[in-house]
Symmetry: C2
Subunit: 197 residues, 2 copies
Amino acid sequence: MTRPSRGRRPGAPDTRAAVLAAARAAFAAKGFGGTTIRAVASDAGVDPALVHHYFGTKDDLFLAAMELPVDPREVIGGVIAGPVEEAAERFLRAFLSVWDDADVQPALLAVARGVMDPSAHRLLSEGFLPVVVQPVGAALGIDRPEHRMALVASQVMGLILVRYVMRVEPVASLTGEQVVATYAPTIQRYLTGDLPP
Amino acid sequence: MTRPSRGRRPGAPDTRAAVLAAARAAFAAKGFGGTTIRAVASDAGVDPALVHHYFGTKDDLFLAAMELPVDPREVIGGVIAGPVEEAAERFLRAFLSVWDDADVQPALLAVARGVMDPSAHRLLSEGFLPVVVQPVGAALGIDRPEHRMALVASQVMGLILVRYVMRVEPVASLTGEQVVATYAPTIQRYLTGDLPP
């Protein structure tokens, strides 16, 4: 639990940073479900209303604490709109529009590299999945969304590892269209295909 | 480049350790192709014949340097034998026999956690893939083995991440049979199915 040093409080430029540090520590230690805005505010030595004022909902606070270079909920909005039979293709195009963007990729890689750290993977598995990934499954109206989205995550994380982190050829040099054609059938089956009971 | 402290040489109990340390440093810095037994021997301050005597071929030395709890070539032998149309299923059964073994899993997890470290992922992408993974593709007689095995790696590494490292449910609790039924179609398509040119 990081308890930031006491200093000038509300309005101080470091209040935001103190709240974010407290939020990161709380999400990592207690998971998304176990963290409350009230507890984060207390750890940061500020009023809960101030946390809401700066960051909005707990979902918003969580995403701010992850310091992602894009709001994944915006990227994912386009995935939900449209026929579910083509959701994998829309997802992959949205994914590539972010990951293949040279301005955004370094910050995403920093997050991906942290995934092996036990505190970070708790942040991902108990925060990112319920806040960002699971709502996509629910919005698509697929059965067993938690199960299916975890399978999707298992292919997407492997793709991130091989294409962007390890840069294994020829996967690293595939065009966006080749990535879509290669991976859309896998992801579409995980989303809507027959799976073992 | 780790240059171990000089001490008693051939026959000394730390000679093996010195050679392994030099090998790890060389594979990480120069990749598998750029490393020679001669250079490793020189870095360790021993005769190349001694390295061959202790460790065999460069492939053997590489696998010893990775400190895997099992020799992946033995596990993979059974994957190659049999019809290529069922290779994915045999591969997944061999994979699970190692990864679901509670005695072996901790050591495998230690290797997996290192994958985000740039030196380790060079070890994996320029060593593990050519020494262990690519020969499987070649032995199966599939077209574009390098391309197809990289796709297989992208699903298998994601499965390792979600099932064993992050323990995301329900994937972490799937039975072996469920894992096979879920992932064999994906991996079989990457091995022998239609892919974009």
